[in-house]
């Protein structure tokens, strides 16, 4: 036993030494060329990732600004901070900006762009110029939306339900729709690029089941991007045609069906939830494996769970329509299928938890975000079961319960994953370390602020407070004040990393090639990496997260795990 342990320690030391030996080159992707042009015309996936980072950060704070307005208005039951019309535009723009311009691109376009080629040992993505094009398309779409905001915004809710959006709203529906329509193409191009890259550009020896789980989840996400996004494009086009030339596809007065819009809209927008959360799951798998220095428990199950979520995700859109007058039997089918998609999500949580067993668990900031993600995802996921239960959904549909649920998934899930990933790969991206103490403090502030903001909204929802209400009955005030108080804490929590990240770019200590003692190809090149990523193409002879050689692998039995959990042996008895 003792012998094996020391062997393991030895092999790890050798591994760490190899990592240390990779001397940072004098030139890397950040200082290879200078000037605005070298950034705006770059085809380097890492620089494009940083262009996206700047864009999505801008939109995150813009969307956050609208959230500040919403929470200020909801401090009091009466509508007194802004006009009703202004409030309606604020929550709409909050949704549009956060979903289309932050949550959907955040992880794939920033971390995915940066890491997919590095993790598979490639020099770049398969189509570097298309990659740059996707950023320009995103920027063009964003420009349309920003113009729409400056011209007064839109008041339909981010869901653009007809016939309100097609006939009655006097906001800039078409302009905003065009913005989202254009941005969709950047998403399609990114997805296409990832799929081709993952299929064709893996390093020698890097077989499918040796891929990091981050890659699996991005592969699944890319499938949704290229199969789902065209549907929202068509839907927004139909909406624009309906509004401009009254083609009569959604307007009942012209023989159309307004509920058809909801079907088309959610056919994309429900899978879009998985575009937002699957990449975050990929990040969490990386964090859990590398911060416990251990292979992921049930690797193949986690990998296939991503694909299962992507496929089943296309079959559950009708659970947004349980009270829309769709057929009762259709409702039942969509309810069953929604429970089917819950299973692979649960499988992931169980596997992450089991991975901790006999790991070497670090409490670094990235791991704190991973713990936070798992906690929020349990609450977000379990409340999804409430919403899929037909009889309960009828009551909580379109109330704050739904608002709380999807914020737990998107803010508690996606943003926790995004921030965890940003901290974990920050040394790789910038070559600098962030201040660990501040980062842990910020993670704690975010955890507290988030729960205080969104947990009361579950209660508000069950009590019956409808969403998108500008003024509300007095009995809902206490919980709304709690939520607004939490939001201000959450806002501060988001500002702290913003400040120390910028600080660390100049003043942070230099990072080694592998400051975490992590596994994965991205840690086997210098920080920051050279423009072509690796000095020479790596040849992979190891499994995913193989911190110790394969022959030391044990297959755990159920009995082992239960014994260990129920009857902890005294430390040192091994």
């Amino acid at each position: 036993m003792r012998n094996r342990r020391s062997q393991r320690r030895l092999s790890n030391r050798v591994f760490m030494e190899i990592a240390e030996k990779v001397i940072p080159p004098r030139t890397h992707y950040l200082n290879a060329t200078y000037g605005v042009k070298s950034w705006l015309l770059t085809t380097d996936h890492k620089r494009i990732a940083l262009l996206y980072l700047a864009s999505v950060t801008f939109f995150f704070f813009l969307g956050g600004l609208f959230a500040v307005g919403i929470r200020l208005e909801l401090l009091t039951p009466k509508g007194d901070f802004v006009q009703a019309e202004t409030y309606n535009r604020m929550f709409t723009m909050h949704g549009v900006v956060m979903i289309f311009f932050f949550l959907i691109p955040a992880i794939p376009a920033v971390l995915g762009n940066f890491l997919v080629p590095l993790m598979i040992g490639a020099k770049d993505l398969a189509f570097p110029r298309i990659n740059l094009l996707s950023w320009y398309i995103y920027t063009l779409g964003a420009a349309f939306t920003v113009v729409a905001i400056i011209l007064g915004g839109v008041d339909t809710g981010w869901t653009f339900y007809t016939p309100y959006s097609s006939t009655y709203s006097n906001g800039n529906v078409v302009l905003t729709g065009v913005g989202a329509f254009i941005t969709g193409f950047s998403s399609i191009l990114t997805g296409l690029n990832f799929i081709v890259t993952i299929h064709t550009m893996r390093a020698p020896g890097l077989t499918w089941f040796r891929l990091p789980l981050f890659i699996w989840s991005h592969y699944a996400t890319s499938l949704i991007m290229i199969l789902g996004t065209p549907v929202i494009a068509v839907t927004l086009l139909l909406l624009a045609l309906e509004r401009i030339v009254h083609i009569g596809i959604f307007d009942p007065a012209l023989g159309g069906d307004p509920v058809l819009f909801q079907h088309l809209f959610w056919f994309y927008s429900h899978p879009a939830v998985y575009i937002m959360v699957l990449p975050a799951m990929g990040v969490i798998s990386e964090l859990v494996a590398n911060m416990t220095r251990k292979n992921i428990f049930g690797y193949k199950f986690v990998a296939f769970a991503s694909l299962a979520i992507a496929v089943f995700g296309f079959l559950v859109w009708g659970h947004h329509l349980f009270v829309s007058t769709q057929s009762v039997y259709a409702g039942m089918m969509f309810s069953i299928l929604s429970y089917a998609v819950a299973v692979p999500s649960a499988v992931k949580v169980f596997n992450w938890t089991a991975t901790l067993y006999k790991g070497s668990i670090s409490y670094n900031t990235p791991m704190l975000y991973a713990f936070g993600f798992i906690g929020f995802f349990i609450i977000g996921g379990m409340t999804g079961l409430f919403l899929a239960a037909l009889g309960v959904d009828v009551h909580v549909h379109d109330t704050y319960f739904v608002v709380a649920h999807f914020h737990y998934i998107m803010v508690g899930g996606t943003i926790m994953g995004y921030l965890g990933g940003m901290h974990y790969w920050w040394p790789k991206i910038t070559g600098r370390m962030y201040p660990e103490a501040w980062a842990r403090f910020a993670a704690l502030v975010i955890f507290v602020g988030f729960n205080l903001t969104f947990f009361p909204q579950f209660l508000l929802g069950y009590m019956g407070m409808p969403r998108r209400y500008y003024a509300y009955p007095e009995e809902f005030q206490v919980l709304n004040v709690m939520s607004s108080a939490g939001a201000s804490i959450l806002g501060i929590g988001y500002l702290i990393p913003m400040i120390y990240f910028i600080w660390s770019m100049r003043y942070g200590p230099h990072a080694s090639a592998n400051p975490w003692g992590a596994f994965g190809l991205e840690w086997r090149t210098s920080s920051p990496p050279p423009t072509l990523n690796f000095e020479k193409t790596p040849v992979v002879t190891w499994e995913a997260y193989e911190f110790t050689p394969r022959d030391e692998m044990v297959v755990v039995s159920v009995r082992d795990l239960l014994d260990e959990t129920l009857r902890p042996r005294p430390v040192g008895s091994e």
Binding site: M16, K300, M332, F350, M382, G391, V554
Partner: protein, 329 residues
């Protein structure tokens, strides 16, 4: 059954206790799952914390048995929840035959109610306790949603069609009515009250208000004003089908399809008469779209419903034509 759940609205319908029971179960399940997983994570996180910098975890491949267990058990539990939730839903959407009917027209931003006896109300609905109430809802403009938290019911009101919902108030009181589907500037102002009254009180309220005669009689007046009766004659001599005895019966169309005549069919026949032409008749009826409001439509429907039980003069009950079928158009 009537377990009070903290942070929940009053239980004021036969349905609310049942929804709360499932909600309570789900809360308990969430709490249990959350606590168990959190405790396991905390235990592992402490027990297996990193003790020195170069330590690595013990490699463990995984376990198919465990994977199967934690896939199949959650699946079975979720199927149980599905059946529970679906049975509530099914009950909710199958309106009882015998019920007090109220017609509802939503518009930006108010709720208009018409009782069969002729009372009309805005943003306030009076109903008796202990009696099933069936609402037939439609809207003049955008989609709205009729939501009464105390009854745990909600249904979207979609333009161009009739939606039906029902509830049975079990407790007298005044309960919130909200519009739950975003409908424009004053969405949050589209609120009202449901007044549930004791039976006697309700009777005296009923006798207080009916000024304009019953809904069906208003419909009958309109039927004559719009000259519907020149074609739809009760003696089967008109150019249109006889309407007496049609409601609730099967109708056959030119294309051979059949349908039970319900409120939506009557509405469609007034708004887009050519969508379904009764077998044996020419598609000559003009559309009344834009000429009658949703409220007037409901009055016409109520009238045609009221003559649905009458025996139809000379025509047979399934509206077969008295004259030979003209050629298809």
């Amino acid at each position: 059954m009537q377990v009070p759940i903290p942070f929940s609205p009053e239980q004021a319908s036969s349905y609310s206790g049942q929804v709360d029971a499932l909600y309570g179960f789900l809360c308990a399940l969430t709490f249990l799952v959350g606590i168990v997983i959190s405790l396991v994570i905390i235990y592992f996180a402490i027990k297996y914390r990193r003790r020195h910098d170069t330590e690595v975890g013990k490699p463990i491949e995984g376990s198919t048995k465990l994977e199967l267990a934690w896939s199949i058990i959650p699946f079975c539990i979720s199927m149980g929840i599905f059946v529970w939730g679906a049975s509530l839903y099914y009950k909710m959407y199958h309106a009882p035959g015998e019920a007090l009917e109220v017609y509802v027209v939503a518009k930006q931003w108010m709720w208009k109610f018409q009782h069969l006896d002729g009372q009309r109300e805005i943003n306030e609905l009076h109903v008796p306790v202990g009696r099933k109430v069936k609402l037939m809802l439609t809207t003049e403009d955008v989609i709205h949603s009729f939501f009464v938290p105390a009854f745990r019911v909600k249904l979207d009101v979609v333009p161009g069609k009739y939606s039906t919902m029902w509830f049975e108030p079990t407790k007298a009181g005044r309960y919130h009515l909200f519009c739950a589907e975003y409908c424009g500037t004053s969405h949050s102002g589209m609120i009202g009250w449901i007044d549930v009254m004791e039976a006697a009180e309700y009777q005296s309220w009923l006798s207080g208000g009916a000024g304009e005669g019953s809904l069906a009689s208003s419909g009958e007046k309109l039927f004559q004003q719009l000259a519907c009766n020149t074609c739809h004659r009760s003696d089967a001599q008109g150019r249109g089908p006889v309407l007496e005895g049609v409601f609730g019966k099967e109708v056959q169309f030119q294309d051979g399809q059949r349908l039970i005549a319900d409120e939506s069919y009557i509405r469609e026949s007034i708004i887009t008469p050519r969508a379904k032409v009764v077998a044996g008749f020419q598609p000559i009826m003009p559309t009344f779209q834009g000429q009658v409001s949703e409220e007037q439509l409901l009055q016409l429907v109520a009238y045609i419903k009221s003559i649905g039980s009458k025996s139809p003069g000379a025509a047979s009950t399934n509206a077969q034509p008295a004259k030979p079928a003209p050629p298809q158009q």
